[in-house]
């Protein structure tokens, strides 16, 4: 197609999408930032209050910082656990084992189940086991933490595994064979040959798990609801409850939402930066 034709139809094809993008994303986003500096119950009734909402969000006893801490801790644990499990699975499933594709499918499957359903399934499973000890998932906050970790590993590992399998498959066979000829042990093969060559994928997986865990909402709601006493309340759920659970606190909820956005945006920015850097080196 000629460049002129492209230009002529550009408006017709792109404009509707652009309009929708503006209407449902850019405008609400800008309004949202504005609302975080106001006190409001509906968007028509906003009065400007400056930084008051941000101050209230950080006030002692509010729980925003505790939620941030809990979410960060969980995110660290999830990143480590998910990537280790996913990599181990990928290594196993790139060996010549029978029914490899069946196993791949089975491990990937949990990723297709919605978070709410998954949360309830794990709630039932863990509740069934814990009831033997006269406990339940909300008895201690640490139980909730472990439950969320388990759930995340179960849900995310399969997805990350697929990325790792693809990366491992893309390693040139010559490098492995050369290492084997040189008498490398399986550990040396992994450490010095395979891992360095899949580093970009590791970066992608680490950041994907990190942002996924930070944004986790439905699993949290279905598994623990933040109980006991909001000790397992993650950021997204915390913001939701600030907005809808406290009359007159909508502005504060909005302010927390803006800060939440900044955290996730920084994480995504870092991911872009690292993956780009790797590519340039190669």
């Amino acid at each position: 197609m000629k460049a002129g034709t492209l230009k002529r139809y550009f408006g017709i094809f792109v404009l509707p999408t652009l309009l929708c993008f503006l209407l449902v994303f850019v405008i609400p986003f800008v309004m949202g930032i504005f609302l975080s500096f106001t006190e409001f119950s509906t968007i028509e009734s906003a009065t400007f209050v400056g930084l008051a909402n941000y101050k209230l969000a950080f006030r002692a006893g509010d729980g925003f910082l505790r939620s941030l801490g809990f979410t960060s801790l969980l995110a660290l644990a999830v990143v480590a656990a998910v990537n280790l499990v996913a990599l181990a699975l990928a290594l196993l499933l790139t060996k010549r084992i029978r029914f490899t594709s069946l196993f791949r499918g089975v491990f990937f499957l949990p990723n297709l189940i919605g978070g709410i359903v998954l949360g309830y399934i794990w709630n039932l499973l863990l509740g069934g086991i814990l009831s033997y000890f006269g406990l339940d998932i909300t008895y201690f906050a640490s139980l909730g933490f472990l439950g969320l970790l388990l759930l995340s590993v179960w849900q995310l590992s399969g997805y990350m595994m697929v990325i790792y399998i693809a990366a491992l498959g893309a390693i040139p066979k010559e490098t492995e064979q050369a290492a084997l000829v040189d008498g490398a042990t399986p550990f040396q093969l992994l450490r010095y040959v395979k891992l360095p060559q899949i580093l970009p994928s590791i970066a992608v997986c680490v950041f994907l798990t990190l942002t996924n865990t930070f944004k986790m909402f439905d699993q949290n709601l279905a598994l623990t609801q933040g109980a006991p006493g909001r000790k397992t309340e993650m950021l997204a759920l915390h913001i939701f409850r600030t907005f809808y659970g406290r009359i007159g606190w909508q502005g504060v909820g909005q302010a927390k939402g803006v800060m939440f956005f900044i955290v996730v945006a920084v994480l995504s920015g870092l991911q872009l930066y690292f993956t780009r850097q790797r590519k340039e080196k190669i």
Binding site: Y9, I12, F13, L15, P16, T17, L19, C20, S41, T42, I43, E44, S45, L56, R59, G61, D62, G127, S131, G134, L135, D136, T138, Y139, Q225, G226, A227, P228, G229, R230, R241, T242, Y244, G245, R246, I247, G248, W249, Q250
Partner: protein, 442 residues
């Protein structure tokens, strides 16, 4: 050919986005938009709307918020062009949240026919919420099991009928003795599980808590409609603890398992006669009656007041009030407002409307258009009326609308669970609640 095809595609895309934009802006004639907050009665309101349209020709659109999302739905719908004309608010707290949207109802027929005008929500002489149902709660008991106890040869209390239980001391003595004899009474415990799973703890953090709150507010002479009650001291925390401990100690369920129990679990225990008492309200009868395998006959259920050693126990009644008020959208056009008023008046005054209220919704409606014969046929509703009409009985109002926020209630409930599990002292429960009360008011 190729060119016209791509043009066609472009047109279709444009058309799609245009219809998406205009679809929400279409309206014809005056319609009443009714936002319903209980999904379980959605079908009944649809039927009412249909009947109203058939009688008067005015269209009523019933929209229902999904379970537990009423406030969200209302907040996001109000600023739109499809804002509801009639919606519900739940008490004085709602005023600050929705004040721009609350029309003055003092001139409406519905308000004029309110049996007790003091029940309405008003501010500065303007009425902005009209209650449409009253409900009551207390300790629901199973008369059959109680009588079985009173007939026990080895019982340790002097009482021989439920009506003789008129104080916390009497209730406590009977309950402890019943618990001791639970095997011969055929029950697992006197009280149903104290459901403390998060989201299922409102019977304690809201309803039971209403009593110490009421005692305190009445002592200070705080107005029912006051939206902000900031100098909360929890003066009667010991009374709260007395009854709450009685529930925990004489329960069907071990304390450690309470965090998993739901209200439905408790009501099922009551319906299957695994316990003799459960704290709940008149709305819960449906749950008892529809439980599969229900063993409780309708003539055997009754209410006992929530005795906790308060000042006037001999005259204490149950807690009767409402958190359901109609509000009409101030920003709707004059015709729409008039149509909304007419619809509500029709529902509570015409024969068709009243039949729906009585038989379908099962409301005890607080309007003078409802006579003796318009009482719903449900034993707990009748009990509420019995308490309302009894001489020398002082029923307690619902003061819990003064609780600053849902979050405070959730935190209080979590605190109570930790206390029940032995992870928190009651003193810490009290001090945490007081601190939260202050911080929630900003």
């Amino acid at each position: 050919m190729k060119r016209s095809l791509s043009l066609l595609l472009a047109l279709i895309t444009l058309l799609f986005s245009l219809t998406a934009l205009t679809a929400c802006g279409k309206r014809d004639g005056v319609t009443v938009r009714y936002l319903n907050f209980k999904p379980e009665v959605a079908a009944k309101y649809e039927a009412i709307a249909k009947a109203y349209e058939k009688e008067t020709g005015v269209r009523v659109v019933v929209e229902t918020a999904a379970a537990n999302t009423y406030e969200q739905t209302l907040l996001s719908k109000l600023p739109t062009r499809d804002a509801p004309t009639v919606f519900q608010i739940n008490g004085p707290k709602s005023y600050s949240a929705y004040k721009d949207y609350l029309a003055d109802l003092s001139a409406t027929e519905l308000y004029r026919h309110l049996a007790d005008p003091s029940l309405a929500l008003s501010k500065d002489g303007k009425v902005y919420g009209v209650p449409y149902v009253v409900e009551g709660y207390g300790i629901i008991y199973n008369k059959k099991i109680m009588d079985r106890y009173f007939a026990l040869p080895g019982k340790a209390t002097p009482y021989s009928d439920v009506s003789q239980i008129k104080s916390f001391d009497a209730l406590s003595a009977v309950v402890w003795d019943m618990q001791k004899n639970k095997a011969s009474l055929g029950i697992d415990g006197v009280f149903a599980a104290t459901s403390l799973k998060s989201g299922e703890d409102w019977r304690w953090q809201t309803h039971l808590f209403n009593l110490p709150l009421t005692y305190e507010m009445e002592e200070k002479d705080v107005d029912m409609t006051a939206a902000d009650y900031t100098d909360f001291t929890f003066k009667y925390s010991e009374n709260f603890k007395k009854l709450f401990d009685l529930y925990l100690n004489n329960s069907t369920t071990a304390r450690a398992a309470l965090g998993t129990k739901t209200v439905a679990d408790s009501m099922a225990e009551f319906a299957l006669e695994k316990c003799a008492m459960v704290q709940n309200g008149s709305w819960a009868y449906a749950q008892i009656a529809t439980e599969s395998g229900n063993k409780v006959a309708s003539e055997d259920v009754g209410f006992l007041p929530l005795y906790m050693g308060g000042a006037e126990e001999s005259t204490q009644g149950i807690c009767i009030g409402t958190e359901n008020y109609y509000a009409i959208n101030q920003k709707a056009s004059a015709e729409e407002k008039a149509a909304a008023e007419a619809f509500l008046w029709w529902l509570y005054s015409s024969d068709t409307g009243k039949r729906f209220v009585r038989e379908e919704l099962g409301f005890i409606a607080p309007f003078d258009t409802f006579s003796e014969n318009d009482i719903p046929n449900d034993p707990l509703a009748r009990e509420v009326l019995r308490y309302m009409r009894a001489d020398g009985v002082k029923n307690l109002p619902w003061r819990f609308a003064a609780i600053p926020s849902l979050r405070l209630k959730e935190d209080f409930g979590a605190s109570l669970l930790a206390y029940a599990q032995g992870q928190k002292t009651f003193a810490a429960v009290v001090s945490d609640l007081k601190a939260a009360w202050q911080s929630e008011s900003k």
